[in-house]
């Protein structure tokens, strides 16, 4: 039977899922060092067992409302194009099996997030899980374009 396992996390009162194969680990929020001149949604860098990895504020990245960061906040550490990157989420809830049949294409009606970042919407029981396309959601290309524009006008 066709199904995938996703790590489900909370972000601004919605539930999101990413393919478990892409998730390295989930850690508590350590002290984050701000990186001057990095894009705004990059919260900074952290020390992950001797490696310096960038951490992205996923709320800010997905243009969601900013909110209080509670005790349940976590960093989901993922692999992207050979690099390790952390994404800050409000909290991680569970690992879920999602049958392929339960996944529908993303629709702007259901979610507040830009649909190009999404792989689809999974309906599991009565819940809606928004499946993120990590490569698109974390990519810096948009930032690069903005920076290029800013540089040209400065």
């Amino acid at each position: 039977m066709d199904e995938e396992q996703v790590v489900v996390f909370d972000l601004a009162d919605e539930q999101y899922g990413v393919d478990i194969a892409r998730v390295h680990e989930i850690i508590r929020l350590p002290s984050v060092t701000a990186v001057p001149r990095a894009p705004r949604f990059v919260e900074g860098v952290i020390n992950l067992r001797g490696r310096v990895i960038p951490v992205v504020d996923l709320r800010m990245r997905l243009h969601l409302q900013a909110g209080e960061r509670g005790r349940s906040a976590r960093i989901v550490v993922v692999e992207m194009r050979g690099e390790t990157i952390g994404a800050i989420v409000d909290g991680v809830t569970e690992v879920l099996r999602v049958p392929a049949a339960a996944v529908e294409p993303p629709s702007p009606v259901v979610t507040t997030v830009e649909t190009s970042y999404l792989r689809g919407i999974a309906k599991v029981d009565d819940r809606l899980i928004i499946l993120l396309d990590l490569d698109r959601a974390l990519t810096l290309e948009e930032h690069d374009q903005l920076a290029a524009v800013a540089g040209a006008t400065a």
Partner: protein, 675 residues
Amino acid sequence: MAIAFDLGPDDLPLWLAEADEQIRVLADGLLVLERERSDPAILQAVFRAAHTLKGSAAAIGHRRMAELTHALESVLDQVRQGRLVPAGPVVDAALAALDALQALKDEVSTGEPSDAEVEPLVAGLRAVAGDARERQQAPAGATTAGEAVASVVAALPPYRVDVRLQPNSEWHAVRAFQVLTELGTIGRVGWCDPPLETIERGECGPEVRCTLETDRSEAEVRELAAGVPEVVEVHVTLAEAARAEARQPAAAGPPAAVDRAAGVIQGRRTGRRPVGGVVRVDIARLDALMNLVGELVIDRTRLQQIGRRLAGAGVQHEALRDLTEMTQHLGRVTDELQEQVTLSRLIPIDTVFSRFPRVVRDVAHRAGRRVRLVIEGEQTELDRSVIEEIGDPLIHLLRNAVDHGIEPPAERLAAGKPAEGLIRLAAEHQESHIIIVVQDDGCGLDPARLRDAAVRKGLVAAEAAPRISDGEARDLIFLPGFSTAERVTDVSGRGVGLDIVRTNIQRLSGTVEVASEVGGGTSFRIKLPLTLAIISGLLVRVGDSTLAVPLNVVVETLRLRREDVRTVTRHEMVVARGRTLPLVRLGEHLGLESATRAGDGYVVVVRAGAREAGLVVDDLVGEQDVVIKTLGEYLGELPGIAGATILGDGRVSIILDVARILEGLERRGARRAAA
């Protein structure tokens, strides 16, 4: 259109490495020959390299490469026999062929045809060689040098040479043949087992034995044979008993000149491949090892802190004493480990130096100068990361030395100097640094002319010029936009770039200084760390952030009092020891929270290139050796940020790229001035 060669992917690296080596021997040797004219050992090495290269090319079916090498070999043969003088058109033709061989060799790795034109080069070489043959046809009678040497060699005692090859190699016959060829260059190979014909058919096991008649020492013979790849063991013994067997003529190889010990080139080559005990390690693995050592250093620091905290909390327990002792021991071990790993990443600077003789020769020819380049300390080792970056700045300095330093021959003779200028390129270790000196015996830097030029170019105000000391005047050459060249040449362009040289060297955490004497020459002294992975940093605090400033750019630190700050055209300045320095409030500049707006802080005076400024910080934390880590591809290159490091408490600290920050400052200033 892609081209294919008769070579498997597994054999490719080996083939390329050996072709590179032969091309290098040829390039080095030709330049030495051009100068020294007749050095038999080098002649032999060069001829042999061409011969080997031809064989390698033919073996993989690279017809054009084999053809060109063959033509080159013929010319070198004429030179070896004394029928051609290695100068002028001969060397030019040979070097042109070598450039093409380089391109042809690259075809093997890329699989793409190059634009190397073989036919005209072959014709050129043939013309040169043909001239000699015609001229030399008539005179005869005297025995050739080769025959004379052969008769001397025959009287020498034979050695018995036993060579063991790597057992699992698939190239036994090739290696055996190489060993015999190498030995043939220093004497005569007599009997050998397996016989040469068998080896040539490709039938050979991992063991080769032969006798050798030569005047060289056992050690030299051993070193020569051991220099062949995949040779794992060499035994050389005096073999009186082997004399009888040796009567049976077998392997050949031209007898070599007897008057010299192993040639420069040959000696260097074998020197780098000592027998046994050497392992090739992927550089990525060494990088990973270096990272792990970095982590260990961090953990050690944390353990020390824990110990201090326990002691501070009044804990009195035997275990605490043990912990302190253990931490000290761990400290010594990690220091040693760090040093050893650093050392294992070092490679000889020869890998960059080796291309300079050709560069200098070409530049000198074009500029109409006569220049001799002397290289010293080419076996000095430093980190691969530094080696990769140091080539361009050095080429710049060498070109400058030829074009702006060394005078044209007539001018030199008039000044009572030899017509041929001398450039010395030397490397040596000094503690954890390497010093590279580029020195010429040219016209030197004239402080008066430098001052005039700086005023003319608007870099210095006319009334300020007389106050500039001679030393400061020489430093002016590092200013952006400064050039004393009266005209534009194609050699060193517009004379630009010394500012870039200094910036690049500072980016490597190094410094460059100039010393000069009018009429006596100029000397640049570059000081670089052995490795880029660890630097000394000054830790500073700005708001909640701890930042690291590379210590090599720090001039001094000062307390900042608000009353010392002046504002000049919206720029904050501070007067320190008579100099006026622009201030950079780091917090504001980097977009970090900072307290200095309200209260007093500190000024870290930094210098990068000719630019000096004061970085305003909240507090000074201290000096520390830090392990540089990159921020990774994801964040990419951020202006003003050189990387990050992990502090003793586990937090990440950002390392500043001061040169870049000061550059940005200047651009901003220029825009303001223009507005």
